[in-house]
Symmetry: C2
Subunit: 336 residues, 2 copies
């Protein structure tokens, strides 16, 4: 059995910088046509020049693959209208992190004072710059996303023309919110479609499946599967592939993040196939994102076939992927 995907997109990707960028950029660029690149570097990407420089470093690292890094800016409430106008052609979206909620988010927003955020959000709405949000409070780990939904709702109501993307959603509450506001969208990762907290901590502890937001309950995964497999028009694939060096994952104080970029399409094909939903994968992995963001990425046809593929144990001796050393039922046979 063969599956052809037209111009796959990863609408939430961490490419990091330096050596890690060199390792992971070609892996995404090989099978994806483009990706929305997160700005949580150290320091975070907050100026037009930083955006341009980072894009250039990515272009250098990605090799010969045809691949567009769609750039983002790290949300700051003190951006001026002039700056936002200047930077708007350099970026596809602005990413908002609550302070301290995930890797390198220390400079993010503390509290959600709508009055403080309003000036920047108003200009973004006028300029048509989508807002991507890591939607977690600092509450109890299993409740953080559900507790954040009222904030999404306030934002969606206050700025009805602003496209707001609930990033890497993990709960049935976030899925339910999707249909309550026209301007709310969502990305869903590969790993949150596969795992629950049981896979992280139900048997032995699995640091390579530890991520933020943490994988939730079985009924939450079911809700995510429903909209992903059902090609819900407001839901996009975003891997949140988040590489960390092996040492940072396999030690006390394990960093949050699952590395899935090089196996994402294979893993998605397996999942959609198992659920008899292969016909809907194109919408989830490309069409919805193109329509929502209004982008025209370069054509890339990725052909997968149903034939076992062994996921590497580790990439470049540094990054351990999801499904390391396990066999997936689909492999990529060509991407061009």
């Amino acid at each position: 059995m063969v599956l052809s995907l037209d111009t796959p997109l990863d609408m939430h990707l961490h490419l990091r910088d330096g050596e890690m960028l060199e390792i992971v950029a070609p892996l995404s660029a090989e099978t994806f046509s483009g990706a929305l690149v997160m700005p949580n570097l150290v320091p975070p990407v907050t100026t037009a020049q930083m955006v341009r420089d980072y894009r250039e470093r990515i272009a250098k690292a990605q090799g010969a693959h045809r691949f567009v890094p769609y750039m983002t800016l790290f949300f700051r409430s003190d951006y001026t209208p002039e700056f936002l106008e200047e930077v708007r052609d350099e970026i596809l979206a602005i990413k908002l992190y609550p302070a301290g909620i995930t890797t390198n988010s220390e400079g993010g927003v503390s509290g959600f004072d709508l009055e403080e955020l309003a000036p920047v959000l108003g200009v973004m709405s006028d300029l048509g710059i989508p807002l991507c949000v890591h939607g977690e409070t600092n509450g109890f780990v299993m409740d953080r996303e559900a507790e954040f939904i009222p904030i999404y709702e306030r934002l969606a109501q206050a700025f009805p023309d602003l496209k707001i993307v609930m990033e890497h959603i993990t709960t049935k509450e976030a899925v339910a919110a999707l249909d309550r506001y026209e301007n709310l969208y969502a990305t869903i990762t590969l790993h949150h479609l596969y795992i629950t907290l049981d896979d992280v901590a139900g048997g032995l502890l699995q640091p390579h499946l530890f991520c933020k937001p943490i994988a939730k309950r079985p009924e939450d995964r079911t809700a995510l599967l429903n909209v992903a497999l059902g090609a819900h028009p407001k839901v996009m694939f975003g891997s949140d592939s988040a590489p960390h060096p092996r040492e940072a994952k396999e030690a006390p104080g394990c960093a949050a993040g699952v590395f899935t970029a090089p196996l994402a399409l294979q893993g998605l094909a397996q999942l959609f196939d198992r659920h008899g939903a292969l016909a809907n994968l194109q919408a989830f992995v490309s069409d919805n994102a193109r329509r929502i963001y209004g982008i025209t990425p370069p054509d890339k046809e990725v052909v997968l076939e149903k034939s076992p593929w062994l996921v590497p144990e580790i990439y470049e001796g540094t990054v351990v992927p999801m499904f390391a050393g396990q066999s997936l039922e689909w492999r990529v046979v060509s991407a061009k």
Copy 2:
């Protein structure tokens, strides 16, 4: 400030075997007068001879400290009445594990067919041998203990004269069950009084706080604190101190267990002191257990004072304790 504890008891302890036993036995024997020793060795402790041999190995390992290892047998539904009569003077209790639910529990009970368990439980009830239970189903990790409560209730109803100890309880549901059946009792660990899932996986992942049952929600911890600090007469301290070699904790597939034995009394004193409940610690850490189990352990007076004590980073280069490298507010000044 000084606190004197009379004959402290740890009613749920893993002493392991071999080298690990040599390391941990003296640490418990130093500050406790006795402990209920779990039988989940490899292979599990299932014969009178195995009980005697294990007790002897413990006695050898514990050094000169005055300390009674109260022995347990690993529950099997095919024990005969004759065997149970023979073994009854060798043991204080029988421990029941659902199969595969925690470290070395593979040989435990599959399913809870009351008819299958009834013959052994009936004899235990007649002989006055308490039943200790690791009460978790194989459901979703956050629900396993609450789902097990109906099984506790069926057991408590079917065998009203059998003392049933819900081991290392972690939920408000288990706390609530305590008062519904006269013959239900519980142990509570140090770590479940301190942590929630937030401490394990809410920030960076902390393998040394990963245990079974997993730490639950804030409202669960509150329920545990209420009965422990309030000296509820059916609740006993049981550390569930569960040493693993550092390599087994700090790697993917991290083993479940928190090592607390050598800092348990100090940690309890700090906790009870912070909550203004020092006067209730004696009941929690000794009196309740003596009454419930009807035991008369050797006198031991343990004196603690409120003065900072630095918890070692690691014991014998092998086992990392809870609070490793951190300071507790109470120290043991003498135990004799």
